[in-house]
Amino acid sequence: MTHTLGRPDFDVIAGWIEPGHRVLDLGCGDGALLKHLLETRGVQGVGVDFEPANVLAALRNGVNVIQGNLENGLTDFADQAFDHVVLSRTLQTVRHTEGILREMLRVGREAVVSFPNFAYWRNLRSVLDGRMPVSEDLPYQWYDSPNVRFFTLLDFEALCAKMGLTVRERRVLDEQGQPVESEDERELNFLGSLAVFRLSQAA
């Protein structure tokens, strides 16, 4: 199975976004997801990124991008200005976890969050073998990783429950980007390398 732009979570995210929706992509990198959504879904998109090289790359990709630091919140954005606010593979790099999740649901109707699952069995085995995990979804050495928060699928669900957020949909993917399904939450937590959540405020 081939994935859009080599990112299986992008396929999941794209599947949740309807044509013409307004999408804010936090930590948009070179804007590849937004570019894809612009071309295939006709969305109105804005990206946010802190890195100068990413801002330049996103502009070159024809994506509107705002240079800014997610740690400072989303003060430039008005309440409920977007249908979807996307944070793909970025939550683990943000220190103010609850703050950014609240901000996402302030400026957007829905938050879409993907993150690497530290409880994935290969990661656990790596730690049991005495080394920090390096994998498809955690492609960094411990000393050069931008990640500052280390959490699992179950941890994230517990945080959502604590914050009173509604999980509208959830997809769990293995390292090849194939969907993992199981009735057993602990098994999912063990088999999934990447998780993608669709969240909203409790009704």
Partner: protein, 376 residues
């Protein structure tokens, strides 16, 4: 930097007989605008970019004159074949604004009613007046809509004003190192500069031309003060530190520190060619600029008049304390609130407000990428 200069350029002059009503209440019965163009206007006349100048700028934006090879345009480093404002693709227009001192009608040109220089009788012009005059030049050149209006500092204010006054005529706007209005601190700096000129004994109420003199001392001080605010503390520290010209203290009031020498040189150079009345006018245009004023200060409401399809690039510089990044972000937030297409870059450059004139790979890359996406 890749790309080349546009090479030899020529100024042109356009005369306008249709009176121009001014923001200040008066009218200018007739006027001239001097301008330069680089590159070729395409058949559809859809590839024109207007470059708006800042306080001390003018129409000579790029290239040099055949008889004055060292007189290089003030933003030459960004304009030319293969450069961000690519003359292989775009037709670039630079205009000397009304009230200027580089050939367009202003205080130092002749008032047809008196046969003498306008001097202090030249009406105060606002950013919106400049935009109207520029729009008439666009009409004259057959340009219905600009592919982009680009400007830094006071030039950025003109670009912003364009998107509100003539939304259908601006397809893109690049607003660099600018602000939606001046702060009290900014107005204060401008007033000190004006006071330096107004209190110079050679000012003669603005009619110094008739006295065959110029308020050089006041203008020099005004420029020295302004210049300090255009630079960053770090940059001045790096460039001059506490270096002494002669190595030791001389215990008098002559030029001693290198920074004094530099500022005096800059002041003298500027006072040698710039017109004091123009300086007064330009600083007032800055102070008055506030496109949200008639909307009760609501910038979001004011920018709601911009065209939904207009693309915006807002750029600021980390070390610019005169027009800080926070001021640019006010514009960004107001545009986002109107669901406009906007990109924002905060560029880490060490040259303070003057960074917008500098050549830098990230900065020029951003402008280049923005303009490459412009559809002709």
């Amino acid at each position: 930097m890749p790309g080349q200069s546009v090479g030899v350029v020529q100024s042109q002059r356009a005369h306008f007989d249709q009176a121009l009503p001014l923001r200040s209440g008066g009218t200018l019965p007739a006027y001239d605008l001097v301008y330069e163009t680089y590159g070729a206007l395409n058949a559809a006349k859809s590839n024109a970019i207007l470059v708006c100048h800042a306080l001390s700028g003018h129409h000579h934006v790029a290239g040099h004159y055949a008889d004055a090879p060292s007189n290089i345009g003030w933003w030459d480093n960004i304009i030319g074949p293969g450069r961000p404002l690519d003359t292989d693709r775009f037709f670039i227009v630079g205009v000397n604004n009304l009230g200027g001192c580089h050939g367009s009608t202003g205080p130092s040109t002749t008032n047809p009613a008196t046969g003498k220089p306008w001097g202090a009788d030249f009406p105060i012009v606002a950013v919106s007046d400049w935009v109207e005059a520029q729009a008439r030049l666009a009409d004259r050149l057959g340009i219905d809509s600009w592919a982009a209006v680009v400007g830094g500092s006071l030039g950025g204010m003109q670009a912003l004003r364009w998107t509100i006054s003539h939304p259908e005529r601006v397809r893109n706007a690049a607003i660099i190192a600018s602000a939606p209005k001046l702060t009290a601190q900014n107005i204060a700096f401008n007033d000190v500069a004006r006071q330096a000129i107004l209190t110079d004994p050679d000012f003669h109420g603005g009619h110094y031309y008739e006295h065959n003199t110029r308020p050089v001392r006041g203008l020099r001080l005004a420029r020295m003060l302004g210049h300090i605010t255009y630079l960053s503390d770090d940059q001045m520290g790096e460039k001059f530190g506490r270096e002494l010209r002669n190595g030791s203290f001389s215990f008098d009031y002559d030029v001693e520190f290198e920074v004094e020498s530099y500022l005096r040189y800059q002041g003298d150079k500027f006072a040698g060619y710039f017109d004091a009345n123009t300086y007064l006018l330009m600083t007032k245009a800055l102070d008055y600029f506030d496109p949200a004023r008639l909307d009760g200060g609501d910038l979001t409401k004011a920018l709601g008049r911009s065209h939904p399809d207009t693309g915006f690039l807002i750029a600021s510089f980390t070390t610019d304390w005169r027009f800080s990044p926070a001021r640019s972000r006010e514009i960004v937030a107001a545009l986002l609130a109107n669901k406009r297409r906007v990109s924002y870059a905060e560029i880490d450059l060490n040259f303070g407000h003057d960074s917008f004139l500098m050549e830098d790979a990230q900065y020029h890359g951003i402008v280049d990428a923005f303009l490459r996406n412009v559809k002709l």
